[in-house]
Amino acid sequence: MGIVNEVKEALSAQSRTATLDELRSEGRRKVRLIRAEQVASMISEAVHAAAEQSGLISQAEVDKLVENSRREFKDILQQREREAQESKELKDQLQARDRELQQLRAQLQQQGGANAQANAAPGAQQAGPAGIDFAAALEKLTGSLNDRLEKLGKKMGVSAAVDAAELNFDGMFKDTGKTLESNMANIEIKKKEGGGIATNLAKLKKLKGGS
């Protein structure tokens, strides 16, 4: 029964729901139906038949293989479900922002009309408290959208951050330049001879497209 539920979950995660009206509007008059149990049974039969016909592995190994495949299938399924959930949340958030943006646009138009009337009137004043509220709301929205974009960017491996100038550590050696009393100039340090690097250089040049 476990595999049937998994297939159901997989079908559910990787399929879309459409109403009959929607299908009709796509020009479909009939749809074929298949039960999840039948799909599961077909998969199971196919896997067992392929494994048995190959003659390469024993029944015990076939069972182990099936078990491993099921485990892996379940992992992938859970991952897809998580991704689908994340995607849905992001979509909802974007829709909410869109709605907010549209409301603000409508407010902007109303405010524009009101300002035009006020400016036309004698002794009109500059934007009042309503104008300030609107500017603050717009700024908040922009900030929120920027944060959202930055988070999405980070998720995709892109960031708005720019590299700072290269660090300079020269100042750390101010006190190390003075000449110290030492006998190091007269002492030989052990040396080792090693194989050449001509082959390495030739191969690297070739890889880089040189002669």
Partner: protein
């Protein structure tokens, strides 16, 4: 771009000879050892190696004369006689003291106030003067660690400044990427390079010389020494001595060697498990059609039986990508310096 940042020139070595030596030097800035590589006139390379350690002793005229007679390098710093390099390590063992170390866990040590002047002296000594102003010097830096929060940016910037001040043009290269340059030419520089150093183990996977993924874990030879010293109740330099006196970790002969063996196996297993986990996470991973080779290098891999134990531990895990040969570099201690030299000679940056 300054004059010395120009791509590599080639300098004739000797009039009348056909051979030319590519300019450029490679520098391995390791926690335990510092190594500088340069091409020699015979077509091979010469690597100068010095232990990255020092030890201060009371300063007097007799000690100075004695050290010079014994060809032990010293420097007088803040009124103290500071013995540098391998000799510091040997003296520390004689007097049952701990050496002072400019670096820890693969990076410049924040706890050692004399770290900078001492490491600068050693690097100056092994690197020598540039043969031409602004000669390329590629130095290795570790990759960010999976298991500790470390500041690679500071470490890299510091050595870049130091090497530039010596008259070179410094370029940083990832430590394990350097191993790939040194060891995987036969496979078109495709495969996995591992550097088992004193402070860290670094890993890099590259496709046709391009690094796809690199990272480090903050365990290495020092981690073995620390744990062996803890269980045996001896100074760390003694544990280092036990480890380096030529033991075989497949066949420990004493309680001390048994302790070293246990921690070696644990280190190898830890590194492999982390590589596996990182590769399995699957981010930025290429797909390999053919099995790739794994090249191990670094001073910690020099112990007898290392590669056999590595293969045993490797066989215990289900590695996520197909692997061909697993081998240790023939010149494990100097492979990183050699890889840095290859990068410097080709002008890789």
């Amino acid at each position: 771009m300054t004059d010395h940042q120009n791509p590599q020139k080639r300098a004739p070595v000797d009039a009348g000879a056909d051979t030319t030596v590519a300019l450029g030097k490679g520098l391995d800035i390791g926690t335990a050892n510092l190594a500088a590589a340069v091409q020699n006139e015979d077509g091979g390379i010469t690597v100068t190696v010095e232990r990255n350690a020092f030890l201060d002793i009371p300063s007097d005229v007799y000690s100075k004369n004695m050290l010079t007679k014994l060809k032990v390098p010293y420097v007088v710093h803040n009124g103290k006689l500071v013995v540098i390099g391998e000799a510091a390590f040997e003296l520390a063992n004689v007097f049952s003291r701990e050496t002072r170390r400019p670096m820890s866990d693969g990076l410049i040590s924040p706890n050692e106030q004399d770290a900078l002047p001492m490491i600068k002296l050693i690097i100056n000594k092994i690197l020598g003067e540039p043969r031409t102003p602004g000669e390329n010097c590629h130095f290795c830096v570790p990759a960010p660690s999976l298991d500790v929060d470390n500041n690679v940016v500071y470490h890299q910037g510091l050595f870049e400044s130091m090497i530039n001040k010596m008259g070179y043009t410094a370029h940083a290269i990832n430590e394990a990427h350097a191993v790939i340059f040194a060891e995987l030419s036969e496979c078109d520089f495709t495969g996995i390079g591992l550097s088992f150093g004193g402070g860290m183990a670094n890993a890099c996977i590259a496709y046709k010389s391009i690094p796809c993924l690199s990272f480090s874990v903050a365990r290495g030879g020092d981690w073995i020494d620390k744990n062996v010293a803890n269980v045996l109740g001896c100074p760390r330099s003694k544990a280092t001595y036990i480890k380096e006196r030529g033991i075989d970790i497949r066949d420990p002969k004493s309680r001390e060697e048994e302790a070293v063996t246990i921690y070696y196996r644990s280190l190898i297993s830890y590194v492999l498990q982390n590589i596996k986990a990182r590769f399995e996470s699957g981010q930025n991973m290429p797909t390999f059609q053919k099995p790739v080779d794994i090249a191990c290098s670094g001073g910690t891999s020099l112990v007898g039986g290392f590669i056999e134990v590595f293969r045993e531990e490797f066989a215990k895990i289900e590695f996520p990508i197909p692997v061909g040969r697993i081998f240790r570099s023939e010149e494990a201690l100097t492979a990183v310096a050699k890889g840095c030299l290859v990068a410097a000679a080709i002008g890789e940056s």
